[in-house]
C-alpha cells in the first residue's frame, strides 16, 4: 500500500513537472532568445551560442524606457493605493454601518461591473477629450481613484466575518466611524487589501487597450504601449531578439513582484473564492 502511494506520488510529480516546463518554457525561450544575435535565431538550441546584449542597448537607445516605467508607476501605484483605501471605506460601510438603501446601492454598484470596458470606452474617450485630458495622464488615473467594485465586494465579505461587537465597543469608547475605519478596520483588512491591491496593481501595470485610446501624448505613454510599438516595428524585419528584449523589459518587474508576493497572492485568490 505504501509502495503504491510512492509510485503514484512519483508519477504525479513527473506529470506536474512536465506541465511546469510547458508553463515556463515561453519565458525561458524569451530570455535566451533576447541575448542571441539576429542571424542565430534559426539555429537549433535554446541557449545562445554567443551572448549578444545589443538588443537591450538598442531598446535603451530607442525608447525612453525610464520615462515609460515612471509613467506606468504613476498609473499603477498612487491610484491603486488611494483607490484601495476608498474601496476599504466603502466595504466597511456596506458591512458594518446601517444606512438607508445600502443593499440597493450595493446592487447598483455590482450592476456597473457587468458592463464591459469596450462598451463604454468610446464615450469615455469623448469625455476625456472634451475635458482636454488626452494630452495628460489623468484618464488612466481618475477612474481608479474612485475605487474598485470587485475589491469592495471581496472586502465586504471579509468584513462580514468580523463580529459587530468590535465596532460597538469602539463606539462606546467614543470613536466615530472614521476613527473606527482607520484605527480598527484598516489594520484588520490590511492582508486582504494588500493581496487584492497587488493583483489590481499587476492588472493596471499590464493594461494596454485603455492607454492606446486615452493617451495621445507620447510623453505620457506607459511602458506597455512603448514596448508594443517598438516590437511591432521590429516584427516587420523579424528582428526576434529585439522583440524578445522588449517583452523581457515588460515582464521582469512583474515577475519580481510576483516572486515576492506569490504565497500571499495565491492564498488570497483561494481565500476569496471559497467565500463566494
Amino acid at each position: 500500500m505504501k509502495r503504491q502511494k510512492q509510485i503514484t506520488d512519483t508519477l504525479v510529480f513527473v506529470f506536474l513537472a512536465l506541465g511546469s516546463i510547458v508553463m515556463l518554457y515561453p519565458f525561458i525561450w524569451m530570455i535566451f532568445t533576447s541575448f542571441k544575435p539576429k542571424m542565430h535565431i534559426y539555429l537549433a538550441g535554446l541557449l545562445p551560442r554567443t551572448w549578444d546584449f545589443s538588443s537591450y542597448i538598442q531598446i535603451w537607445d530607442e525608447i525612453p524606457l525610464v520615462r515609460g516605467f515612471l509613467n506606468t508607476i504613476l498609473y499603477s501605484v498612487p491610484p491603486v493605493f488611494i483607490g484601495s483605501l476608498v474601496s476599504a471605506g466603502a466595504a466597511f460601510a456596506f458591512a458594518k454601518i446601517n444606512f438607508k438603501g445600502k443593499n440597493v446601492v450595493f446592487l447598483i454598484l455590482l450592476a456597473g461591473i457587468m458592463i464591459p470596458f469596450p462598451s463604454i470606452m468610446i464615450p469615455q474617450f469623448v469625455m476625456f477629450s472634451q475635458l482636454q485630458m488626452l494630452q495628460s495622464p489623468w484618464p488612466l488615473i481618475l477612474p481608479k481613484l474612485t475605487g474598485n467594485v470587485l475589491m469592495i465586494f471581496f472586502l465586504r465579505q471579509y468584513l462580514n466575518y468580523i463580529p459587530d461587537s468590535v465596532i460597538e465597543a469602539a463606539k462606546i469608547d467614543g470613536c466615530n466611524y472614521f476613527d473606527i475605519y482607520h484605527r480598527i478596520i484598516l489594520p484588520l483588512v490590511t492582508p486582504a487589501l494588500t493581496a487584492h491591491g497587488v493583483l489590481w496593481f499587476i492588472g493596471s501595470w499590464n493594461d494596454y487597450l485603455a492607454p492606446t485610446i486615452f493617451i495621445k501624448n507620447e510623453k505620457w505613454q506607459p511602458v506597455t504601449v512603448m514596448v508594443a510599438k517598438f516590437n511591432e516595428q521590429y516584427a516587420i524585419n523579424t528582428h526576434v531578439p529585439r522583440i524578445m528584449a522588449g517583452s523581457v523589459m515588460l515582464l521582469v518587474p512583474v515577475l519580481i513582484i510576483y516572486g515576492i508576493f506569490q504565497r500571499w497572492i495565491i492564498e488570497s485568490v483561494m481565500f476569496t473564492s471559497i467565500k463566494e
Binding site: 504525479v12 510529480f13 506529470f15 506536474l16 506541465g19 511546469s20 508553463m23 515561453p26 519565458f27 525561450w29 524569451m30 532568445t33 534559426y42 476608498v86 471605506g89 466603502a90 460601510a93 456596506f94 454601518i97 444606512f99 445600502k102 446601492v105 454598484l109 456597473g112 457587468m114 458592463i115 464591459p116 469596450p118 463604454i120 468610446i122 464615450p123 469615455q124 469623448v126 469625455m127 477629450s129 474612485t146 475605487g147 467594485v149 466615530n176 466611524y177 493583483l199 501595470w205 499590464n206 494596454y208 514596448v227 508594443a228 526576434v240 522583440i243 524578445m244 522588449g246 517583452s247 523581457v248 515577475l255 504565497r263 497572492i265 495565491i266 485568490v269 483561494m270 473564492s273 471559497i274
Partner: protein, 309 residues
Amino acid sequence: MKTKTYKKTYFRVLDNIWGYAFVLIPIIGLVVFVVIPLCMSIYASFTAWPLGQKITSAKWVGLNNYITMFNTPLFWKSLGNTFFYMIGIPIGLVLSIIYAALMNRGTRYENVFRVIYYTPVITSTVAVSFIFQRMFMSDGGVVNNYLMALGIKNPPNWMSHPGYTKWVIIIMAVWKGLGSSIILYIAGMQGISRTYYEAAKIDGASWFYTFRKITIPLLMPVTFYLIVTGIIGGAQMYVEPRLIFTGNGPANSTFTTVIHLYDNTFRYSKAGYGSAVANILGIIVFIITAFQFYINGRRERYEETKTNN
C-alpha cells in the same frame, strides 16, 4: 423616554450620513465613468456621429446603424470568431480540474507547482503575445521545430493558414488562464467536506468513481463561475489578435467584435456605428452575467432550504 427616542433618531441620522460619506466616491465613479457613458453610447448609436464632432450636433438616423451592422458580413464574422475562441473554455476546464486534483493531494511540492502554474496569469498579455507570435512562426518557430522532431512531417502553418490562426490564440489563452482556474478549483476542493470521501471509501468506491460522482458535481459552482467569466473575458478579446496577427489576420480569421468597434470608431471615425456595435456587445455580456447572478441566487436559495430542513 423622549430623550431616548431623540438619541435613537440622532444616531440613525448619523449612521446614514457616515454610510453615504463612505460610499460616495465609488458612486460618483459609477455615475461619471459608467452611467453617463452608457447613456451617451445608447444615444450615439442612433446617430451618424463622426468622432471629434460634438455629439449634440450629430444627425439622428434612427435604427440605421443597427441595420447596417446586421447587414455587414464583417460584423457577423467578428462575432463568429469571438465565439469560436470560447472553445478554449471547455479545454481549460478539463485541464484545470485534472491539474487541480493532482495538486491537492497533500504533498510537499504542491505549493511550488501552484506558483509555477499561476505565473502566466500575472504576466502582461502584450509581452506574451509577442512571444507566442514568434514561437508559432512557420520558419524557425520553436513549436514547429519540436513537432518536426516528434516526427510530424508537415506541421501546420500556424500564422498564415486561416484554419490554424485562431488556435494560436486559443492555445495562448488556455495556457495563460490555466493557473487561475486551477487555484479556484483547488479552493473549491478544499471546501468539500471530508465525510463524503470517507463514506465513499467505506463503500469501496474507486478514486476515479469518487472523482466523477463527488468532486465534479460539488465543484459545479466553480465550473459555472469559470464558464461565465470565461465568456465575459472572451467577448472582450482584443489585445491578442491585435498584437499576434495585427488585427484581422489572414482572411479575417482572427478578427473580433472589439477590433471591429475599435477600428470603426478610432480609425474610420464612425463613432455612431461603433457605439451600436458596443451596445450589442454590452447587451450580450450583460445577459450572460445577469444569468450567472440568477442561477447563483437560485442555487443559494436551494441550498438554504436544504439546510433548513
